[in-house]
């Protein structure tokens, strides 16, 4: 429990920073819609549906019409996902590598509680922070439209977006913890984790560009839960299952690998 509390306390500052970032993103972006009553103009939506996908991608509307509240919210949540993923990489790598980087591992790992215990407590603390930031994202997402008197036309599908963000962030969290265990050298491991994330982002851009690139979907979890599907009230169950299984596998690999990891002082 001590390890957990210690680790949890050290995460407060970065949580506050990222939390403020999310708050700012959601509130500042929603300000634009202040007082807008959900106008779903059928003509516009129909017209946009007929646009070729490359053109829509250029206008930033590859998935949904940004002029509607649902479309706007889905774009907003995509960026919230990007931000939270970035935080997830930080949490995942720091859980495993903090003592190595600070050169304090010999103080902690000589305590009589076993490596597995230490790692699981650290991962748990990161998991709690990640859950908290996703909750914060949810709270803001409900507060912002209420505060600005926006007609919330998608109140019932909104939880799906929030769950999707949580799942993807969780996957990246587990994956970066695993990479931090498996790859030798702290800086290299951190770089690799961010590279994976940026790779996902790049692929998601290509995914949006043209219908012919939709085959990259399995490779980029940022697109596992598409805005169109979520707005229709459907969270793709196959991809959700894949994500959960992958999380379990990554955590298992991280735990077994960590017990045999050489905690060298030279990173």
């Amino acid at each position: 429990m001590n390890v957990f509390l210690q680790e949890w306390k050290r995460g407060i500052k970065s949580f506050v920073l990222w939390g403020l970032g999310i708050a700012f993103l959601i509130f500042a972006a929603m300000m634009k819609l202040r007082g807008v009553v959900g106008t779903e103009s059928g003509a516009v939506t129909g017209m946009l549906a007929a646009f070729p996908k490359p053109v829509l991608a250029m206008l930033g509307m590859a998935e949904a019409n940004i002029e509607t509240y649902g479309g706007f919210f889905s774009v907003l949540q995509f960026y919230a996902m990007v931000v939270i993923c970035c935080y997830a990489v930080y949490l995942g790598t720091v859980s495993v590598l903090r003592e190595t980087i600070d050169k304090t591992y010999e103080f902690l790992f000589t305590k009589p509680c076993g490596r597995l215990h230490i790692l699981s407590m650290k991962l748990l603390s990161g998991f709690v922070w990640l859950t908290l930031i996703c909750l914060l994202n949810s709270v803001f997402s409900y507060l912002a439209p209420a505060a600005y008197a926006i007609d919330n036309t998608i109140a019932d599908t909104m939880p799906l977006f929030l769950v999707a963000v949580y799942l993807v962030a969780l996957l990246l969290y587990a994956l970066s913890a695993m990479l931090a265990v498996v790859i030798r050298g702290a800086e290299r491991a951190i770089r690799a984790s961010y590279a994976v994330f940026l790779g996902w982002y790049a692929l998601s851009v290509f995914f949006d560009v043209d219908t012919r690139f939709e085959f990259v979907r399995p490779l980029t979890p940022l697109k596992y839960f598409r805005a169109g599907e979520l707005l229709a009230g459907r969270l793709n169950p196959w991809y959700a299952a894949v994500v959960l299984v992958a999380v379990v596998v990554c955590v298992a690999v991280a735990c077994t690998g960590f017990q045999r990891k050489d905690l060298t002082a030279v990173s």
Partner: protein, 263 residues
């Protein structure tokens, strides 16, 4: 010169990788994606013929803007700017925080070199690496303008140089972060966090469409959008950028040359 040579060599591989990524993204966008957009024009015009005239104008969509190369290249910037910002911040942070990360400040500072010389050499290394990235970037971009429009006008040149100027701003962010943070865990994490935060701010700016927010969005200080609309950079933003850049670098310089280094 020793520090300059050491730092550029240390970061060279990283920089070459980043250059490859950024130039490939640019290449794919300009030569892979743009033709797709142009090809879809006829399909789109046929489809639009069935709509009453004036609908497009009402929504502020001008077909010539959408399909013109200059209009298209604004979008390319959005993606390359994020990568460029991360690279610039990460490189500057790596160079200026190296001794902090290795806990070897005392070894460097006891060398017979003044602290300001060390600072200047490290700064020169950052700028050189940014330059290395920008040479192929500018070359590919310029070639694409010649390929599609047959000429490179002054606004085109301003668009092409956006990345370089924006990176200079982010170098100062990286230096300030490395010098002022008590502890730097990882320079790549610092780079990605600052770059992502800037990306988030630029999203706030573009989603909210509030003009004031352009001052807090460093990715849009040198904005191809403004160049596209007015033919030059947005001067208040440029002024903000210059003040920030010089202010942060000067503050970091003072701190670097006067700080008490803990043993």
């Amino acid at each position: 010169m020793t520090i300059f040579r050491f730092e550029t060599r240390r970061q060279l591989r990283n920089t070459v990788t980043w250059t490859a990524v950024i130039v490939v993204v640019l290449w794919l966008m300009l030569y892979g994606f743009y033709p797709l957009v142009v090809n879809s024009r006829t399909a789109m015009e046929e489809m639009l013929a069935s709509f009453p005239p004036g609908v497009l104008a009402a929504f502020g969509i001008n077909l010539d803007d959408v399909f013109a190369f200059a209009g298209f290249s604004r979008m390319v910037y959005l993606y390359d700017a994020l990568l460029g910002a991360i690279m610039a911040t990460g490189t500057a942070a790596a160079i200026f925080a190296r001794e902090k990360q290795n806990k070897s400040s005392d070894f460097l500072l006891t060398k017979p070199l003044s602290r300001s010389e060390i600072f200047v050499q490290k700064l020169a290394a950052c700028l050189t690496l940014i330059g290395v990235l920008n040479i192929p970037y500018v070359a590919v971009y310029t070639a694409s303008y010649l390929h599609y429009t047959g000429s490179v006008t002054r606004p085109d040149l301003l668009t092409i140089l956006c990345l370089f100027l924006m990176q200079l701003v982010f170098v100062s962010f990286g230096i300030a972060a490395a010098v002022f943070m008590r502890r730097v865990r990882s320079s790549s994490a610092t780079g990605v966090s600052i770059g992502m935060f800037a990306f988030l701010l630029s999203m706030v700016y573009s989603l909210s469409e509030k003009d004031v927010f352009r001052f807090i969005s460093p990715l849009s200080y040198f904005n191809p959008d403004a160049v596209f609309k007015t033919g030059r950079y947005d001067m208040p933003s440029v002024a903000t950028a210059i003040v920030l850049m010089l202010g942060l670098t000067a503050a970091a310089y003072v701190r670097f040359t006067t700080a008490d280094v803990p043993a």
